[in-house]
Amino acid sequence: MTRDVFIREIRQSESMLYHVAKSILKNDSDCADAVQETLLKAYEKLHTLKQDQFFRTWITRILINECNGVLRKRKCVISYEEYMENAGASEPKKYTHLYMAILNLPEELRILVTLYYIEGFSQKEIAEILHMQEGTIKSRLSRARALLKEQLTEEGSYLPVKATGAKMQLR
């Protein structure tokens, strides 16, 4: 992949990168830092990307590693819970009910929901990115839906269906 193609692909992935980072770090400033590091690292190691078609999963893997690195560093300074509370508190409440509900999910579910429902990765791609069995992904997504349903039902909201944009009323 040439530098120009790399930059074009990265530009097309900007919102995806932001959403994935956000699902792990929550804090916008940390997201920007993690994505910046990811871009520099990815460009430096571009030669390891053997097939361009895997660009999206490749860059997502690097980003998630980077975000986890940020979390690890934070954990050394303050507790994870404290960091997440601070991160949440520092952001203005400008999100949709559904996104707020997603942010309230446990970390391992947030990233799955983001990748699968928001960014449209297939379960096979997610399995490659997160090095998980597809069965685990299915069951976790099911758990995530149940938790979201619980949260949104209290607000009288709907849980949308993937890809079609149609809505499914929660029962």
Partner: protein, 368 residues
């Protein structure tokens, strides 16, 4: 009732994020090509130019001279023995400059430079009058403006992949550091075979700031552009050792074909196919929930000890300010070589070197 779908549920990219994103892409656009397919021919060693050329600015006082002595910061960085203090100076790795400029109550002195064929380091002393106090947030709006023979290093493709860093020096046990005296270091390294001998180097430090540099919204506390220029002596070539031995880099048997060393840094030449296996696995064996961040090739080849021919083992102390930078990775698919470079945490004696220890994977490699 909310009317939303998954895609619309996620927030748009915030402006600050977008700005940093674009800034990073521009940085990548400016970067040199990382994959080196062509090698720069080694430059002829130029005739040495003995004296540094001095800048003359209307508002600036300049004092120049060859006042060489090892500064304490540099001693902490390289931990040289008494013999090394002399030999490194004699061999041109360390140079005393002694250029000093005063602008708006801030005197900056270029104390020492350190250089080998892939590394350029400058140590500045900053002294301020009573009206300006410095602390760990002191910086410059622009502290990485480096030119070699009049050309910005950003525009020198012949250097290959290059990197630079700058900041206040805080090695432990430097007695004279105070709110009115600090040390500032600039380190520049590059990957190609480019001979620095006889080159004229210019460095500029622009506007002293407090609270970080420009990117961190630092506040300018003293305006000025402190310009320094000096010419390098002949610099020794790196010593190349033919190693041709396999080494276990934590589960990866990789042939180390050769090692290039100076007293300050090293470059390992690794078998391409065997080394690339690490990169491939790094890409494919992704662990999301684990605590192990994994180890790239730079991590696996990190040298933490060296052994001399008489059996003496020197343990490098990277934790408390050892080393002056340098290092990087490059791949040459045509010549089937992966090059990994790094800086030693203290000056080593190249002549006596027998083996190196890769600390993260606990492996010794005999190199001579």
């Amino acid at each position: 009732m909310s009317d939303h779908n998954w895609k619309n549920a996620a927030p748009e990219v915030p402006e600050e994020f977008h700005m940093k994103f674009e800034e990073t892409l521009k940085q990548i656009e400016r970067q040199k090509i990382i994959h080196h397919k062509k090698k720069s021919p080694k430059m002829m060693i130029r005739i040495l130019i003995a004296a540094a050329i001095l800048c003359s600015l209307a508002v600036t006082t300049i004092v120049a001279g060859e006042l060489f002595q090892w500064n304490d910061v540099l001693k902490k960085r390289l931990n040289p023995s008494k013999e090394q203090q002399e030999s490194l100076a004699d061999q041109g790795y360390i140079k005393g400059i002694g250029q000093s400029q005063t602008q708006n109550g801030v005197t900056i002195t270029l104390v020492n430079t350190v250089q080998d064929q892939k590394l350029l380091y400058a140590l500045f002393k900053i002294e301020t009058d009573d009206s300006i106090s410095m602390d760990y947030t002191t910086s410059f709006e622009d502290g990485l403006n480096i030119k070699i023979d009049g050309t910005s290093t950003y525009d020198m493709d012949e250097l290959g992949s290059s990197g630079a860093g700058a900041g206040l020096a805080y090695p432990e046990g430097i007695p004279d550091i105070s709110p009115h005296l600090q040390y500032y270091e600039v380190s520049f390294s590059y990957s190609n075979d480019y001979d620095l001998s006889g080159k004229t180097v210019q460095m500029e430090l622009k506007n002293l700031t407090q609270g970080g540099d420009k990117t961190e919204d630092g506040e300018v506390v003293a305006e000025g552009v402190w310009k320094f220029e000096w010419t390098l002596d002949e610099i020794r070539s790196m010593t190349k050792l033919d190693v041709n031995r396999k080494c276990d880099f934590g589960g990866y048997e990789i042939t180390v074909e050769a090692m290039e060393i100076s007293p300050l840094q090293y470059t390992l030449y690794l078998d391409y196919e065997e080394a690339m296996k690490v990169y491939e696995d790094e890409r494919n064996r992704f662990e999301y929930n684990g605590d192990d961040p994994g180890m790239d090739l730079t991590g696996r080849t990190h040298i933490d000890q060296v052994r001399y021919e008489d059996g003496t083992v020197v343990k490098m102390d990277y934790e408390f300010g050892g080393g002056i930078g340098g290092g990087g990775e490059s791949w040459d698919e045509e010549n089937k070589t992966v090059k990994i470079s790094g800086g030693f945490a203290q000056a080593i004696d190249v002549e006596r070197l027998e083996a190196v220890h890769f600390g993260n994977v606990d492996s010794w490699l005999t190199v001579k």
